[in-house]
Amino acid sequence: MKANNSTPFAIEVTDLCKRFGPQQVLSGVNLQCPRGQVTTIVGPSGCGKTVFLKHLMLLLRPDSGRIVINSTEVTRLNARGLDKIREQFGVLFQGGALFDSLTVFENVAFPLVEKTKLSREQIAEAVTQKLAAVGLEGMGNKYPSEISGGMQKRAALARALIRNPSILYLDEPTTGLDPTRTGSIHELIRHTHQRFGLTVVMVSHDVPQVFEISDRVAFMHDGRVRLDGTVAEVMDAHDPVFERFLAGTASEDEDLRAPGTTETRV
């Protein structure tokens, strides 16, 4: 692996453009994600956050622009080259994307079973360790349909981590969870990030709670990154569009939780 060299960035994206039919979804995205930090992408729904993340996951090819992951330019790689990069990251999809015909244990073991020559015992040990790391000890024999949404996210996170990637992508890791579970998944992300020293790139709609576990924030708007920097920098930028976005999501949250209460945001 070509890690820890030259640039301090695990991911560098330059002028990324993508169009679906007549719809220009990404029109020149620029973003740099420092190695070992948590970068959180926020923005109104439908603004292209998932599409952008799918480019980083090598699931979509850009129309133009450059993506450098761990010092490798990935946009022109062939299938074998892409697979090499894929070994360096893990993904937690929005819905978890666990294989529902396999148990939790088999799901977490799957990448090792399919892609490595580890023995059965080695695999069992690695899986048990990762399940413990996400707080799912003893749940290995359950099927995804038998566990709660929060547990599915945990199991999917264990699967994403099983090959010890250096980068972790998270697409809305807390969608569909109640506030308590959201908090505990955030805690788990922070813990995982610190324990494994990962570079984390996350899309989230939990504004502003998610800023507590983020090092950097990128605000996407109209197919571009309109604003990015450390959490403090972004909050101090006084960008009118960003402030309107913050106000919008915050008031939505308040409507849901405690009708009548006024601004409690700091």
């Binding site: 994307a97 666990l98 294989f99 990448p111």
Partner: protein, 270 residues
């Protein structure tokens, strides 16, 4: 689309249907191209190593073995009705002795492969489309891809190979059981001469008939697995995506099976 300036409504009225037809033709070619490329890609993964024997065997169990009871059930009733209808009709011409020949030719050349394929479409094809469609809609296919596992190689190729292997075997079961069903009713119930039933088969059912029937079944197996996997793989990401993929898979497979039955029959009868 930007309309050039200076175009009158009359001209647009004339041009736009042609334009729309053109766009439709292009879309159709595009869709057909995707459909054919999908198969070529899956076949390439079948031919090239590594060979996923375990996955293929599992699919043969699901498509083949688990469909065999249903196929046998349909076969026995089909054979019985052929025995009934055949004996009833042949008796009018004083040709009771030809029952075995008629039943076996109809089954081996036509009904065996076609009905087997339609049953497999209903049972295994729909399941394939639904399973792969659900995986598409819930991002499980993307999850495979990011694990550096090619979903076509892992899911589609084994199913297509298993379809091609299973269908001729199932059609053979259908033929044999159908012929026995025809015997039970035609000879046992209606009193057609027992000896001439199997003698007729032995002397009139040629190797070409059997080969032609198996060849048809093989093509139908390819069609069912190909169409079902394609529809599942391209299931739209919305609430009704899976049900739509499943319906389209069953309808398109059935239509293509009957269409290719005619085409293959006209080629084989030459």
């Amino acid at each position: 689309m930007n309309t050039p300036t200076g175009i009158t409504p009359a001209k647009r009225w004339l041009v736009s249907p042609i334009e729309r037809l053109g766009a439709m033709v292009l879309d159709a070619i595009d869709a057909l191209g995707g459909f054919v490329l999908f198969l070529l890609y899956a076949v390439r993964e079948i031919v090239l190593p590594p060979y996923k024997v375990r996955l293929v065997l599992r699919q043969i169990r699901i498509i083949g073995a688990e469909s065999s009871f249903l196929v046998a059930l349909i076969a026995v009733f089909t054979g019985m009705v052929l025995g009934l209808q055949g004996e009833f009709t042949l008796r009018k011409f004083g040709a009771e002795g030809a029952l075995g020949t008629v039943v076996s030719l109809v089954l081996v050349r036509e009904l065996g492969p076609v009905l087997t394929a339609l049953m497999v479409t209903a049972r295994a094809g729909s399941a394939m489309a639904a399973e792969i469609g659900a995986m598409q809609v819930t991002e499980q296919l993307d999850a495979l891809t990011v694990m550096a596992i090619d979903p076509v190689q892992y899911l589609v190729s084994p199913r297509i190979l298993a379809g091609v292997i299973s269908l001729p075997l199932l059609a053979s079961i259908f033929d044999v059981i159908g012929i026995l069903g025809g015997y039970a009713v035609g000879v046992g119930l209606m009193g057609a001469p027992a000896g001439s039933y199997f003698n007729g088969i032995a002397s009139n059912l040629a190797g070409d008939d059997v080969a032609g029937g198996l060849y048809k079944a093989l093509v139908f197996g390819l069609i069912v697995a190909w169409v079902s996997c394609y529809k599942g793989y391209n299931a739209p990401r919305m609430a009704t995506g899976v049900s739509r993929a499943t319906t389209e898979a069953v309808v398109l497979s059935s239509v293509l099976i009957l269409m290719f039955d005619y085409i293959l029959t006209s080629l084989l009868l030459k």
